[in-house]
C-alpha cells in the first residue's frame, strides 16, 4: 500500500567519506576546503539533511551535471554522481576547494565566476543558491541504503534477486495442521500461521462459499436454484463438483478475461481526442474469453498473442490473438508519423514488460534502470522483438474456403466494382491530398514511392501513413451528393445481387505482421554510433542475443516474436510462471503473494511467501500451464474456504472486497433474471442487458456506473483496480434513473413470482439478493415491515420495494466476503 510521507527518504546515517575527513584535517592552503563550509562535524547525517539532498541536490546534479560528469563521461576528469568523485574533483582541482573568491570551485563554476558551468544554459538562480547552501552546509552526501546501480555490471546480489533466480521446487511442508490442510497450498499457509502463532479460521458456510465462488469465478451472484442445489448436495465432493461446474461454464471466461483485458487495456475505441470507434477490436476480446473457457495453456496463450501470425498464419482463430498489439491508444490524425512509430513501439514494449515479465521496463527507456538490474539496452533488446511490426489497420482474415469463395465472387463482380472504384477514386484522392498536406515532405515522398525501393523502416512509416489514409472513420459514400449518390446506390444494388456467392462472416480483425523477413535497425536514441540492438532477453538472465529462426509457415516474417514467446515460456524463465501464478492468486484472494503484480523488481513488493509462490509457479508449469488446474488447486484449498468472521488474520484468506463495476451491473440484471447471457460478437450498446464485458468500451465516455465504480480507463495496463468510495457512487445507487430501472425490475420479479406468504417472501428475498437465508431476527424485521405497510393501507409491493432497496444498499450486498 502506498503511504503518505512528508520527507522523501528517511534512512541514512552515514559519515562523510574518509577522504573528505582527510581533506578537512590536512587542509593544504590552496586546497583548503571552502571557508564557507561548515566543517562536517557530524559523523551521521540527519534524516532531514538526507531528505534535502535527495529532494534538491541529487536531482539537480543528475539533470544538470551528470551528462558530462557522470557515469558515462567524465569531462575534465570530474565525476559528480558519487561522493568520492565530487571530493576528488577534476583537472581543475577538488570541487570543494576554495578559490580566491572565497567560494568553492563548484559554486564558483555554477556562478560562472571562473569556470562557466553548465556551459550552455546557466543554472537558474534558485538552483545556484541550492548548491551554494548545500556546499556551505558541508556538502552532506548520504550513503544510500540501496546504492544506485553501477552501470552495466551485475553483482551477485543482482543475480540473486528473488524474482530473477530460477523457480525452485520447494518441498511441501509435512505438517498438515492437525488435518486442517486439504492440499499443498494449505501446508505452506499453515507453516506461516504456525510461525506467527495463529490459527486458521473455520470454514465458511455453504451459502457464503457459493456466493464467493460465483462472484470470483463468474462475476455474478448465484441464482436461488444454484443455491438450493449446492446446499442440498450431501455428497462428500459437493464443493469440488461445484467448482468444476463453475469452471466449465462460459460465464467463467467472461469473468476472468476481464482481468486480462484490464492488463492489455482493451477498448472498442481509439482514444485521444477523436476517440474513433474501433469496430473490429472485439475479435480479440472474444479470443481471450474463448482462451480462458477452453483452458488454453498459458504458454500457448502467450505465444498466440505475441506471434500467432508466425505460428499459425492460416488459422483465423489464432491470428486474432495478435490483436494484443492493437489494444493501445491510437491517434488517426497524428501528423508526426515518425513520433507515432516510436510511441507505438514504446507502448508495446512497456506493456509487454508489465504484462508478461512483471518488470516495469519504461524507466530503462531513457537510462539504465536506477534500481533494477535492467539496462537501457535491455529496453531496446525487448523492443527489437517488435521493431519489424507493421502497425496496420484491421484486415480481413478469411478461412481457406472463404478465400476460394472470395476469389470467385471477385471474378463475378469485377465489372461493377471497377465502376464503383472509378467513382470513389476522386474522393479518395481528395482525402489523400488533404491529409498528405499535413505531413512533412519526407513522409509524402515515402507515401508516393514504389514500396520495393523503400527501406524496411520506411515501409513501416508508409504503412502508418496508409493506416491514417484508410482509417475506419473515413466514409467515402457519405461524401457523395445528388446524382452521384444515386448512381453509387444503384451500383451498390447491383453488387448486392452477388451477395449469395460472397463468403459469409469473414473475420475482420487487427492482427500483427512483420514488415518482411528482415527487420529495421533498433537504435538507442542518442547513440551516435547507431549500433543496431539485436533482440534478446534481459541481459542479466542471458547476455546473448535471442536465437531467431525464420518461421516455417511465414516466410515474410522475421520470427523475432516467436523467439520472444519461446524465451518467455521456457521452463527456466524465472518470471513468466511466477508472474501469472501470482496474478491468479491475487484475483482469488484480493491481494497477490507479491502485492505489486506487474512489478517484480527492486521497487516492487517482496513475496509474502516466496516458497509458496514458487510452488504455485512450478505447479502451473507441471500442469501443462493449465490455468483451470491452478484455479482448482486454489479455490478447493482450506485456505480459500476460510470464513470471514471479523477477526484480523494476517495470513491468507479471501479478502472481503467491494463489487467491481461490471459485477455490480451484472448482478442488478441477474437479480431480476434479465441478464442476457448471449456470448461474444460485436460490442453491445451500454443499455443492453448483455454482460458488461460485451458492452462497447468507448475510452472517453464510459457509462457513469463504470466510471464511479472504478472500472479502469483503458489507457494504461492495470494489474490492480482501485476501489474508491465517493458520494457520487452513493448518489448513483440511491438515485440514478438507470439503476432505479434495474432495481424496479428486481422488485417486479419478486412481486410477480414471489411467495404470497410474508415470512416466506422475506426469506426468498434474502436468498435472492444476499444469497443466504435470513436470520430469525431479519425475518422478523421483514415481517414487521410488511405488516406496517399493510396497516398503513399501502400496497404490499411498496414493502417489497423498501426491503429490496435496503438489501441492495447494505454493505453485505456490495461486498463479496
Amino acid at each position: 500500500m502506498d503511504r503518505v510521507r512528508f520527507s522523501v527518504v528517511a534512512f541514512i546515517t552515514v559519515a562523510l567519506s574518509p577522504l573528505l575527513f582527510l581533506l578537512l584535517i590536512t587542509g593544504a592552503a590552496h586546497l583548503a576546503v571552502a571557508a564557507e563550509t561548515t566543517p562536517a562535524n557530524a559523523s551521521t547525517l540527519s534524516a532531514e539533511a538526507a531528505a534535502e539532498f535527495e529532494r534538491d541536490i541529487r536531482p539537480l546534479l543528475a539533470e544538470r551535471c551528470h551528462k558530462c560528469h557522470g557515469p558515462n563521461r567524465q569531462e575534465a576528469g570530474l565525476r559528480l554522481d558519487t561522493h568520492e568523485g565530487l571530493l576528488a574533483g577534476g583537472d581543475s582541482g577538488p570541487s570543494l576547494a576554495v578559490q580566491d573568491s572565497g567560494l568553492s570551485l563548484l559554486v564558483e563554476a555554477v556562478r560562472r565566476e571562473s569556470l562557466e558551468m553548465p556551459p550552455d544554459d546557466p543554472l537558474p538562480a534558485e538552483e545556484v543558491e541550492l548548491l551554494a547552501r548545500w556546499v556551505k552546509a558541508g556538502a552532506p552526501w548520504p550513503k544510500v541504503e540501496a546504492p544506485l546501480r553501477n552501470q552495466r555490471t551485475f553483482s551477485d546480489e543482482d543475480r540473486n534477486f528473488w524474482s530473477l533466480r530460477p523457480v525452485s521446487k520447494p518441498e511441501v511442508p509435512t505438517n498438515d495442521g492437525h488435518g486442517w490442510a486439504r492440499g499443498a497450498i494449505d501446508r505452506f499457509v499453515w507453516r506461516q500461521l504456525a510461525a506467527s502463532d495463529q490459527r486458521p479460521a473455520e470454514e465458511a458456510d455453504r451459502y457464503a462459499l457459493l456466493r464467493r465462488l460465483c462472484f470470483d469465478l463468474w462475476g455474478m451472484p448465484p441464482t436461488p436454484e444454484q443455491i438450493e442445489q449446492f446446499v442440498n448436495d450431501s455428497s462428500p465432493d459437493a464443493y469440488e463438483k461445484l467448482v468444476d461446474r463453475l469452471l466449465e461454464s462460459p460465464r467463467y471466461g467472461e469473468r476472468w478475461a476481464q482481468h486480462w483485458l484490464d492488463l492489455v487495456r482493451y477498448a472498442d475505441s481509439d482514444g485521444f481526442k477523436r476517440d474513433d470507434p474501433r469496430p473490429h477490436a472485439w475479435r480479440y476480446r472474444d479470443y481471450v474469453i474463448r482462451a480462458f473457457n477452453k483452458d488454453r495453456p498459458y504458454d500457448q496463450f502467450v505465444t498466440e498473442q505475441l506471434a500467432g501470425d508466425e505460428i499459425a498464419p492460416d488459422d483465423p482463430d489464432v491470428l486474432v490473438a495478435t490483436g494484443y498489439f492493437h489494444c493501445g491508444i491510437y491517434e488517426s490524425n497524428q501528423a508526426n508519423i515518425w513520433l507515432q512509430r516510436t510511441e507505438l513501439l514504446n507502448d508495446i514494449t512497456d506493456v509487454t514488460g508489465d504484462v508478461f515479465l512483471g518488470m516495469s521496463m519504461s524507466c530503462a527507456r531513457c537510462h539504465d534502470h536506477k534500481f533494477d538490474p535492467v539496462l537501457q539496452e535491455d529496453y531496446y533488446r525487448l523492443q527489437a522483438f517488435f521493431s519489424p511490426l507493421v502497425m496496420r489497420g484491421a484486415v480481413s482474415i478469411p478461412t481457406p474456403e472463404q478465400q476460394a469463395q472470395q476469389v470467385a465472387w471477385e471474378a463475378e463482380t469485377t465489372e461493377v466494382r471497377t465502376r464503383m472504384n472509378k467513382m470513389a477514386q476522386p474522393h479518395m484522392k481528395g482525402i489523400r491530398k488533404s491529409r498528405m498536406q499535413r505531413l512533412d515532405r519526407r513522409l509524402n515522398e515515402i507515401a508516393d514511392a514504389d514500396p520495393s525501393t523503400l527501406s524496411q523502416f520506411d515501409k513501416q512509416i508508409a504503412a502508418l501513413v496508409e493506416r491514417q489514409l484508410t482509417h475506419e472513420s473515413i466514409n467515402i459514400p457519405a461524401q457523395m451528393k445528388g446524382k452521384e449518390k444515386t448512381r453509387w446506390q444503384t451500383l451498390e444494388g447491383e453488387l448486392a445481387q452477388f451477395d449469395s456467392s460472397k463468403p459469409k462472416n469473414v473475420a475482420v480483425a487487427h492482427t500483427a505482421a512483420d514488415v518482411g523477413a528482415s527487420a529495421p535497425p533498433t537504435i538507442i536514441p542518442g547513440d551516435t554510433s547507431e549500433r543496431d540492438i539485436l533482440p534478446g532477453p534481459l541481459t542479466i538472465l542471458d547476455a546473448a542475443p535471442a536465437e531467431i529462426e525464420s518461421p516455417a509457415g511465414a516466410s515474410e516474417s522475421t520470427g523475432r516474436r516467436t523467439a520472444l514467446a519461446r524465451w518467455l515460456t521456457r521452463r527456466d524463465n524465472p518470471l513468466t510462471a511466477r508472474v501469472m501464478a501470482n496474478r491468479i492468486w491475487q484475483h482469488h484472494f484480493g491481494e497477490g503473494l507479491v502485492a505489486t503484480p506487474s512489478n517484480f523488481g527492486v521497487t516492487g513488493a517482496k513475496p509474502h511467501d516466496a516458497e509458496l509462490l514458487d510452488h504455485l509457479a512450478t505447479q502451473l508449469v507441471d500442469d501443462g500451464w493449465s490455468l483451470k488446474s491452478l484455479h482448482r488447486r486454489i479455490v478447493t484449498s482450506a485456505t480459500y474456504r476460510q470464513k470471514n468472521d471479523g477477526s484480523n488474520d494476517t495470513v491468507w484468506r479471501f479478502a472481503p472486497r467491494r463489487l467491481e463495476g461490471e459485477q455490480f451491473r451484472d448482478a442488478l440484471y441477474a437479480l431480476s433474471d434479465r441478464l442476457d447471457d448471449t456470448a461474444g460478437g460485436p460490442p453491445a450498446n451500454t443499455d443492453s442487458p448483455r454482460r458488461s464485458i460485451y458492452l462497447k468500451k468507448v475510452r472517453n465516455s464510459p457509462p457513469l456506473v463504470f466510471s464511479v465504480f472504478d472500472v479502469p480507463e483503458r489507457i494504461d495496463s492495470v494489474a490492480r483496480r482501485d476501489t474508491t468510495t465517493t458520494p457520487i457512487q452513493a448518489l448513483l445507487v440511491l438515485n440514478d434513473p438507470e439503476q432505479q430501472e434495474r432495481i424496479d425490475a428486481i422488485v417486479d420479479r419478486i412481486a410477480d413470482r414471489g411467495s404470497a406468504n410474508d415470512e416466506q417472501l422475506v426469506s426468498e428475498m434474502f436468498l435472492r439478493i444476499l444469497n443466504r437465508p435470513s436470520t430469525s431476527r431479519e425475518t422478523k424485521m421483514g415481517e414487521t415491515l410488511f405488516a406496517d405497510v399493510a396497516a398503513e393501507g399501502r400496497k404490499r409491493k411498496e414493502a417489497i420495494a423498501d426491503l429490496t432497496w435496503a438489501l441492495l444498499n447494505s454493505h453485505e450486498f456490495l461486498f463479496v466476503r
Binding site: 502506498d2 503518505v4 512528508f6 522523501v8 527518504v9 535527495e54 529532494r55 536531482p59 539533470e63 537558474p124 482514444g271 485521444f272 481526442k273 491517434e331 501528423a335 508526426n336 499535413r438 505489486t596 512489478n599 521497487t603 516492487g604 470471514n644 468472521d645 471479523g646 484480523n648 488474520d649 479478502a655 472481503p656 475510452r699 472517453n700 457513469l704 466510471s707 480507463e713 494504461d716 476501489t723 474508491t724 468510495t725 465517493t726 458520494p727 457520487i728 457512487q729 452513493a730 448518489l731 448513483l732 440511491l734 438515485n735 434513473p737 424496479d744 431476527r777 431479519e778 424485521m781 415491515l785 423498501d802 426491503l803 432497496w805 435496503a806 438489501l807 447494505s810 454493505h811 461486498f815
Partner: protein, 482 residues
C-alpha cells in the same frame, strides 16, 4: 460557515461506529438538518480531510484559500489576445525567418506563411496593459491580472497538453492539480466535495475524467464533476422520490442489516468510508441544492455574468456557480470552456475565436469583479489559460497550429499583485524567451500561493516519492512580488 458541537459529534461518532446503526442514524441527522452540517467524520477540525490526505499542511504563509481554474480547452491564441507582436504584423505573409528554431507542431504547419493578427490593441487600466479587442470585458480587469507571456509545455497535441496542464505530465496516470490541493489542504465545507469540475455543456473535455482524476492517490481525492444546466450534480434528486417516513424506514432497515455484520478492521474502514460517502451524499442532497441554486442570485448579478444572453449563458452559469461554490468553501473549482478542443483554431481563427471569446469574456470578467466586490478575490486565485498557445505561422490560410513552446496564461487574486506582465516570447511569439515558466513551475507556484510547499507535499507511490511538479518545477517568486 459551520459550528461544531463536539458533544454532538461524539455521540454521532458513537452511533456511527459503535452503535452500529450509523447509516440510518446519520442520514436521519442529516436529513433533519440538526447539526450534521459542518461536523466532520475526523474530529475537532472544521477542515474535513479526505482519507489519506496530508492533513498537516499548510506549510507556508497562505495567500489563496481557493482556486478557480478557467481552462480554455483547445489552446487559445496568445498572439490575438494578450501577446501583441508588431513584428508579426510586419512580416505577415512571409515565411518564418530562418533564425527561428523550428518546432514540431501537430499539423506540421511551421513552414506556412506568418499570419498577422487582425486584432486592434489598446492599453487598459492604470497599468496600461495591452489587451486585444477580442476581450473588452476582461480588459477592464487589467489591473487585477498578472499576465504570464512566457509559459511553455511539452505536450504537442491536445491529449498530452491537457493532461500535462492538469497533472504535470503529458502521459496519463498522475493525479490532477485539484487532487494534490485536496490532498494537501482538504476541504472547508464537509457538505460539498472539495474539488469540483464544471463543464459548460454535455461535452466532456479531451481525456475525460482523467483530467480531474486522482491518479495513483486515493480515489476520494478525485474531482467531482458537476454538469451545466439546472441540476449540476448527477442524481442529486431521486428519480423515484418517496416520502420522508418511508425513506427513513429504508435507512433504518439498512442500518439494521449492517449492524450485526462481523467485519475485520480493513473491512470496517471500508464500511465507515461507505457510510461517510452516503453521509456526504445525503448532506449534498441537503446542502448542494442551495449551493447550486442560481435563482437566489439577483437578476443584475445574472445579467453581469451574461446569463441573459444565449451565447454567454452557459459559461456565465459556470462562472456564477464557481463563485457560489468557492463562497461555500469548495477548495478547487475547475471550469472548462470550449470542451472538446473548441478553441483549436487550425482554420478560420477569426470566426472561431470571435465566437469563443464572446462566450467567455463577459462571464470571466464578471467573476473577477464579483469576487472583488465581495472581498473574495484576495483569497481566491483565478487562473486562465489553455493547454498551449498557437503558432505565428498560418494553417489552412487563416488558422493557427498548436504552439507549446510559448503561450500566455494569466492569474488574478489569491495574493498575486495585478496589473503586471511577466515574461516574454520572441519577436514573433513562437518561443518563450524571458522568464520561461513551464507547466510544472506553474503548478509549484499555485501550491505556493495556497501556502503549500510543493517540495514537501509528497505522496509515496510504489516506493517513489511523488510530487505535483515531478521533481522538476520551481516556484516563480516573481508572480508574488509586486
Amino acid at each position: 460557515m459551520s459550528h461544531i458541537d463536539p458533544t454532538r459529534y461524539l455521540s454521532r461518532r458513537q452511533m456511527l461506529t459503535q452503535g452500529g446503526t450509523g447509516f440510518g442514524a446519520l442520514a436521519l441527522a442529516s436529513m433533519l438538518g440538526d447539526g450534521a452540517r459542518g461536523a466532520t467524520a475526523d474530529g475537532a477540525s472544521a477542515v474535513n480531510v479526505a482519507p489519506g490526505s496530508a492533513a498537516k499542511l499548510p506549510h507556508l504563509k497562505t495567500t489563496a484559500k481557493n482556486v478557480i481554474f478557467l481552462f480554455m480547452e483547445g489552446g487559445p491564441s496568445h498572439l490575438d489576445t494578450f501577446d501583441y507582436k508588431p513584428k508579426l504584423q510586419e512580416l505577415a505573409g512571409q515565411p518564418l525567418p530562418k533564425s527561428f528554431k523550428r518546432v514540431i507542431t501537430a499539423m506540421g504547419e511551421i513552414e506556412s506563411p506568418l499570419l498577422g493578427s487582425k486584432r486592434k490593441w489598446s492599453r487598459h487600466g492604470e497599468s496600461g496593459m495591452l489587451v486585444s479587442d477580442w476581450l473588452p470585458h476582461i480588459a477592464t480587469c487589467a489591473d487585477d491580472l498578472t499576465v504570464v507571456r512566457s509559459c511553455w509545455t511539452d505536450g504537442v497535441n491536445h491529449s498530452g497538453g491537457v493532461c500535462q496542464m492538469n497533472t504535470g505530465s503529458p502521459l496519463a496516470g498522475r493525479p490532477s492539480l485539484g487532487s494534490w490541493v485536496t490532498y494537501g489542504l482538504g476541504t472547508e465545507n464537509a457538505d460539498l466535495p472539495s474539488f469540483v469540475v464544471l463543464l459548460d455543456g454535455k461535452e466532456t473535455p479531451i481525456n475525460g475524467p482523467r483530467n480531474w482524476g486522482a491518479g495513483f492517490m486515493p480515489g476520494s481525492l478525485q474531482g467531482t464533476r458537476f454538469y451545466n444546466g439546472p441540476s449540476p450534480i448527477p442524481n442529486l434528486a431521486s428519480s423515484r422520490p418517496i416520502d420522508a417516513s418511508r425513506r427513513q424506514r429504508r435507512l433504518d432497515l439498512v442500518a439494521e442489516l449492517n449492524r450485526d455484520l462481523a467485519v475485520d478492521d480493513s473491512e470496517r474502514s471500508e464500511l465507515e468510508a461507505r457510510i461517510r460517502s452516503y453521509e456526504l451524499a445525503f448532506r449534498m442532497q441537503a446542502a448542494a441544492p442551495e449551493a447550486v441554486d442560481l435563482s437566489q442570485e439577483t437578476r443584475a448579478t445574472k445579467a453581469m455574468y451574461g446569463m441573459d444572453a444565449e451565447h454567454t449563458e452557459p459559461h456565465g452559469r459556470s462562472c456564477l456557480l464557481a463563485r457560489r461554490l468557492v463562497e461555500r468553501g469548495v477548495r478547487f473549482v475547475q471550469l472548462y470552456h470550449g470542451a472538446r478542443s473548441r478553441w483549436d483554431a487550425h482554420s478560420k481563427i477569426e470566426q472561431n475565436h470571435t465566437k469563443l471569446c464572446r462566450e467567455m469574456d463577459q462571464p470571466v470578467a464578471a467573476l473577477l469583479k464579483d469576487l472583488k466586490m465581495r472581498g473574495m478575490l484576495d483569497e481566491t486565485l483565478v487562473i486562465w489559460g489553455g493547454e498551449f498557445g498557437r503558432t505565428p505561422t498560418s494553417e489552412k490560410g487563416a488558422g493557427r497550429d498548436h504552439n507549446p513552446t510559448g503561450f500566455t496564461m494569466w492569474m488574478a487574486g489569491g495574493g498575486i499583485p495585478g496589473g503586471r506582465v511577466i515574461g516574454q516570447t520572441d519577436e514573433l511569439g513562437l518561443h518563450a524567451v524571458e522568464d520561461r515558466i513551464h507547466v510544472n513551475d506553474l503548478h509549484a507556484s499555485i501550491l505556493y500561493a495556497m501556502g503549500v510547499d510543493y517540495r514537501k507535499l509528497v505522496y509515496l507511490h510504489e516506493g517513489r516519492p511523488e510530487r505535483i511538479d515531478i521533481n522538476r518545477g520551481r516556484v516563480v517568486k516573481k508572480l508574488f512580488q509586486a
